[in-house]
């Protein structure tokens, strides 16, 4: 298998082109929750993709920041998918989304306290034990100031990786969005980021909400990747070297060819070719 360069988030409407795609280094990412079914066309589609390309399972609902351990039924379903498609990467978010049996379809913030660190470390370890493999944990997008932080985010993530043995997923759009919204410097954040733990990078687009004073950036994944984010990516790759990089798009999804054009720019950077003009 050739090494992974740039991948794209898979959308079912692109199935035919995705199966036909033969570009070097391509891989595809899916949300495992959408494939946690007993059978039928969705699973058949995932099997066909797994035959053709390396896959990444990028979870959105494990709620690693919860005070409760991850749901064992959910972990069992995730394990079945992992065994089924043998993914190249498995990842989740530094966030919470479950409370006393209720699920909130979002990635919610929490105070980065030492108590929270212990919880997240334990939750990641339980996940890795259930899956029999290392996962990568993604830095979140921030919109509000949270009281009670005892750790900076980069230190928190570094310590999490150190204690649990997990890797990290660096979402550069999230860094840009959060730095703008919470008024800090994205470059300095990236300089502090424990890049040696990074197993995967995400690139995505965002939108501006002008109803909030100063303009809130929203991690909407529904536009092309901004030039500011590409510049930050360049800065990371120059320091970290090649890392599998995903072009994430979840809303206003363009054609497969358009996504592949955007993907090619990251691929050329990773493959050491001249950056496409």
């Amino acid at each position: 298998m050739t090494s992974l360069t740039a991948g794209i988030g898979f959308k079912p409407q692109h199935i035919d082109e995705a199966l036909a795609c033969a570009e070097a280094g391509v891989w595809l990412e899916v949300h495992p929750e959408n494939y946690m079914v007993d059978g039928g066309p969705r699973l058949a589609m995932l099997d066909a993709l797994a035959e053709r390309h390396p896959l990444s399972l990028h979870g959105v609902s494990l709620s690693l920041g919860s005070i409760e351990p991850p749901d064992t039924n959910h972990l069992a379903r995730l394990r079945r998918l992992v065994d089924r498609v043998d993914p190249a990467l498995v990842s989740e978010h530094l966030a919470w989304s479950s409370w006393e049996g209720r699920y909130l379809p979002d990635l919610l913030p929490f105070p980065r306290s030492s108590e929270a660190l212990c919880r997240v470390v334990d939750n990641v370890q339980r996940t890795q034990d259930a899956l029999g493999r290392r996962i990568a944990v993604e830095n979140p997008s921030h919109y509000v100031y949270v009281e009670g932080h005892e750790w900076g985010e980069t230190d928190f993530l570094g310590e999490l990786a150190h204690r649990s043995g997990c890797g990290l997923l660096l979402d550069i759009n999230n860094v840009h969005v959060s730095a703008h919204n919470l008024r800090y410097d994205a470059g300095e954040y990236l300089d502090r980021f424990p890049l040696h733990e990074v197993m995967e990078i995400h690139l995505a687009g965002h939108t501006v909400d002008d109803t909030v004073r100063g303009g809130l950036l929203v991690d909407s994944h529904d536009t092309a990747i901004g030039e500011t984010v590409w510049a930050l990516y360049e800065r990371v790759i120059a320091r970290a070297g090649q890392r599998p990089t995903l072009i994430e798009r979840d809303g206003d999804v363009p054609s497969f060819a358009t996504l592949m054009d955007e993907r090619r720019r990251a691929h050329h950077r990773l493959a050491g070719d001249a950056v496409a003009a």
């Binding site: 929750e33 007993d38 039928g40 005070i67 749901d71 919470w96 479950s98 699920y103 909130l104 919109y143």
Partner: protein
């Protein structure tokens, strides 16, 4: 309660309380979380109940969905299954009083989803039927295909559902009568087939573990004029039954 738990509990309450004094929620940007969590639920319901959404229009649907989410927020992270109780909610919703068939249309949307994601299964092949003698047929127990779902409604909900899924209006001459259907995915495509009450009765008997012979006798008691051969032929064609290896008959 731990500090982390306390923060999350207050966060959750603030999602619904726009007057919350919780520090994170006092910032205007907190609305991003209110909007995202609500929109995620509404979008999932809209995707899971396309016939209902088409019938009532976007604004009506999203208002009804928001009311449903208040009383039945998601508990399963698999949003493709969200809305288990939406049909019953619509049955009782005052705003749906003039659309008494809406709950049944939602029920059929739900059965479609269940069938779509059910375990893969192999329909009983025609050759297997053909090889069975009359005695064997009478005593055999046929297992329903894993994707089979049964539907009956006191109103023409199947016709309305089908028109809605196809994006066309129902005719003015629609007979206002009960309808029955089976929902099945013999291989990869879900189909909704109109059946008569006798066929539904026979399939239901078989599905609840009775022998084919008993199911036929019972069905003939209820519907003396029905042509059993025609029903069995239809079942075989639709792939209603699956025969497990090693359990041909008791």
């Amino acid at each position: 309660m731990s500090d982390l738990a306390c923060y999350q509990r207050r966060f959750l309450h603030a999602l619904r309380d726009t007057e919350s004094t919780f520090s994170s929620a006092r910032q205007p940007a907190f609305d991003v979380y209110r909007n995202t969590t609500l929109r995620g639920c509404i979008d999932a319901l809209e995707a899971n109940y396309p016939a209902v959404a088409c019938l009532v229009g976007r604004d009506w649907f999203r208002a009804a969905a928001a009311a449903y989410i208040e009383v039945s927020p998601p508990t399963d992270v698999r949003m493709l299954f969200y809305g288990d109780g939406f049909a019953s909610f619509l049955d009782d919703a005052p705003q749906a009083a003039e659309l008494p068939y809406l709950g049944d249309v939602a029920r059929l949307d739900r059965l479609w989803t269940e069938s779509q994601h059910a375990a893969d299964d192999t329909p009983l092949p025609a050759a297997a039927w053909a090889m069975l003698g009359a005695d064997e047929l009478a005593t055999m127990r046929v297992r329903p295909h894993a994707s089979l779902r049964l539907f009956r409604a006191p109103r023409p909900a199947v016709t309305i559902w089908r028109a809605s899924r196809d994006g066309r209006p129902v005719g003015d001459d629609l007979p206002w009568r009960a309808e029955c259907a089976i929902v099945i995915r013999p291989h990869m495509n879900v189909t909704v087939l109109d059946v008569d009450p006798a066929a539904l009765s026979l399939i239901q008997m078989c599905a609840s573990g009775h022998s084919l012979g008993d199911a036929i006798v019972h069905t003939l008691d209820l519907y003396p004029d029905v042509a059993i051969d025609r029903i069995l032929g239809g079942c075989q064609l639709a792939g209603v039954f699956a025969l497990s290896p090693g359990e041909p008959s008791p």
